[in-house]
Symmetry: C2
Subunit: 448 residues, 2 copies
């Protein structure tokens, strides 16, 4: 359902204050017309109380699929409101995958009871997942039914396939009797094949596989690039532990993109639109604090030029122009480099040509805008020398910005720090300080 239908539902639930039965009816209607993903979006779009109210009216059988689709913080706000008994009902017959996705928002003491009630196979899948960090694909892979010993007869496999309803599945995985990976057989190859043959006769052994330890997002890209519907996930020992299908890959990619965008503002991708005020204030305070330090640092440098500013107040008036041009030019380079790092574009080998190109761009724009700004300033304050000072400062700052825009994210990446998160803070600190020092320094030399 297109976004605006979720919005209409929010409208319906928040503004037209329906009585309980009307609300009940409306939600029932929604359940039939929309996907769990949209129901999750709806719940995320509701303030805390209305969220719980709506949740209470959702039919029990689709609550779990909806909860899985919710972002962690919003999901947690619901889980925390449930009694132990309610949680147990919610989590009866939960499968390993669902539990892996929810484990972070389930309080440990509840988790234990859930695991105690879990069925053998699922429990084994779940503990298998726990062998891997949550950035490894082994932690997230699912456990599709279509795995058979290579010696199985084709007619048996055909029966399995006819019954199977698992999505993104057009191959059957083949294993030996120890469960080690052998290869696949493509379902469409089974048509017309002799039903009494062993499926191994049609095996494709060079089918692409994922190693359980590889990064989950890189694995998702591999699945997408493979043009297969799913790739098998295999331990170093050769054991088949599950698969990553293209549908799961899509979700992983969406999640990753969201976290990258949120990171640029120092936010977590799970940040709840209606998270408790205290919690969200606390999360954001840290980021504000870090930025405050850098701001005070810039102020401290400006402070060194108090005497100059007192005599030429125009310098103070123009400081935002110097800072802004440096910040923007830098963030343009930074953004390009951060994307390059994420895609694997950038390496030591192309750093130099890249740096040169960005420098040339900076010189062109530096000259262009220093002329514009210099002239405007000269007229505005009727002071040619001031125009020259700010012009020079702009050139210097835009060039600094290009250098920092390339070097800062690359350095952070080398230090295994996410440049999407901390890149811009450091960059603007550099451009602010260099910009102010050059501008006020030149002012001191040339205007006093």
């Amino acid at each position: 359902m297109p976004e605006n239908d979720v919005q209409n539902a929010v409208e319906e639930l928040l503004t037209n204050n329906l009585d309980t039965s009307a609300q009940q009816a409306f939600i029932e209607k929604l359940e039939h017309e929309t996907s769990p993903v949209d129901m999750a979006l709806l719940l995320e779009s509701l303030p805390f109380l209305e969220r719980l109210e709506t949740w209470a009216q959702i039919s029990a059988d689709i609550k779990l699929p909806i909860l899985v689709e919710m972002r962690a913080d919003a999901g947690e706000s619901i889980v925390d409101s449930l009694t132990h008994a309610e949680l147990l009902t919610l989590f009866t017959d939960i499968d390993a995958n669902t539990l892996v996705e929810l484990q972070d928002i389930i309080p440990d003491h509840h988790l234990e009871t859930v695991l105690a009630k879990m069925d053998e196979t699922q429990l084994s899948h779940y503990s298998a997942a726990q062998q891997f960090n949550d950035d490894e694909v082994g932690h997230w892979c699912d456990h599709q039914p279509l795995v058979v010993p290579a010696k199985t007869k084709i007619k048996v496999v055909l029966r399995l396939i006819r019954r199977s309803s698992s999505s993104h599945c057009n191959v059957v995985f083949l294993v030996d009797n120890r469960g080690n990976w052998q290869g696949v057989v493509r379902i469409n190859q089974l048509f017309g094949a002799d039903p009494l043959l062993r499926v191994a006769e049609l095996i494709e052994e060079d089918y692409l596989t994922l190693s359980a330890n590889e990064d989950v997002y890189i694995a998702a890209d591999k699945v997408a690039q493979s043009n297969e519907s799913a790739l098998p996930v295999i331990t170093t020992g050769g054991l088949l532990i599950g698969r990553l299908d293209i549908g799961a890959a899509y979700k992983l990619q969406a999640e990753h993109a969201e976290s990258q965008i949120m990171a640029t503002a120092g936010l977590d991708e799970n940040e709840d639109l209606f998270s408790p005020v205290r919690k969200s204030a606390k999360n954001r305070a840290i980021w504000l604090g870090i930025n405050l330090l850098t701001a005070f640092l810039a102020s401290w440098f400006i402070g060194m030029f108090e005497a100059t500013i007192q005599q030429v107040v125009a310098l103070a008036v123009l400081m935002p122009v110097v800072a802004s041009m440096g910040g923007i030019a830098g963030s343009q380079t930074l953004t390009l480099i951060v994307r390059g790092l994420a895609l694997g574009h950038i390496s030591m080998a192309n750093m130099k040509p890249l740096l040169f190109k960005e420098l040339k761009v900076a010189i062109l724009n530096g000259i262009l805008w220093s002329l514009v700004i210099g002239l405007v300033t000269g007229y505005w304050f009727d002071d040619v020398m001031l125009g020259i000072v700010i012009g020079l400062a702009i050139v210097a700052n835009i060039i600094t910005a290009a250098l920092a825009g390339v070097l800062v994210p690359v350095a952070l990446d080398k230090m295994k720090i996410d440049p999407a998160l901390s890149g811009s803070v450091i960059l603007t600190t550099v451009t602010d300080i260099i910009g102010f020092v050059v501008f006020l320094g030149l002012g001191t030399i040339l205007l006093l």
Copy 2:
């Protein structure tokens, strides 16, 4: 192949200056070991000359698949370097989909010749795609082979399926003899079915469909949510014109996420890491210009307080702190809201509770940080009153930031302007101006 292998390849090609034959051998090796996507990443990672050199050595048969995977600007840099003859060879037997993806980077006069040589069916698919804007799914859908008239016998369908190699395909689309959509039959349902029956006997009519006019990114999400491998794309007239499969959906989503991230810096998602200096300088100049105007505006407001600054230079020294705190607090709210708008979280109905929540967060952080900043300032300049002035300014600015952070993106969205692109410029302009005016205004009243 994991990112760093692309990087290794770049290393190999740029630093160890291989002779032509060694290079040739290396590239041949790459072609076999890596996907077109990675070859595309490799070419994008090379400076212009090396890029063309490498391109020339790639075997003709995989050039087109690689070109399709490249970002527009990088792809264009190659296409522009080719002679008319080379282009024609490259584009012989090009299919409609590939041409649709490349049409923007092919000069019109070449495009005409390519179309002239195109085969009937593909040409008709191509012109069908041209009936839709490039933000509509009808423009991007592909044309998979597995479409049959509903009256076809199952044995015929089975033969088609066995031969078919199209990916993400576990249903067969059924149409009437006018090509109008009827429904699907699931391939696994065909096992054991009587081969002499018409496939219509097994038809599933309520299969989800996409309307050719809907937004291509919303369509991609629908495909992912449907848990089907592909959804049919249908005109308002009921004609089946193609399908969007989960693989294509994955690519569309990746593209969209990239464009959102690049937009925050005023960049196009196709920006080439090694785009010609002039071109990239020009692209970025516009963004710098827009930001310059807002910076001058801020300066103009500061200018109104020249007299005050002259007497209390400390005010000038501390301006960056006021601006920074407002900017950061605002960008945190902005980012949350922009995501909310993209997901469809936000509507008129939950605006009010959302605004209140953000205000409460702002008040908490405003008070916290105004105390910290007030005290630090008081000690630093040994001036209690100055501490009070900046404290008040910070509270005011952080609250303004929260208001602007919610209202600016929502207003832009209403005006059909992408808030990811212009949101932060407008926001920081607001926070800068309000911040400076309150800070310097209070300074004028309380410190003189």
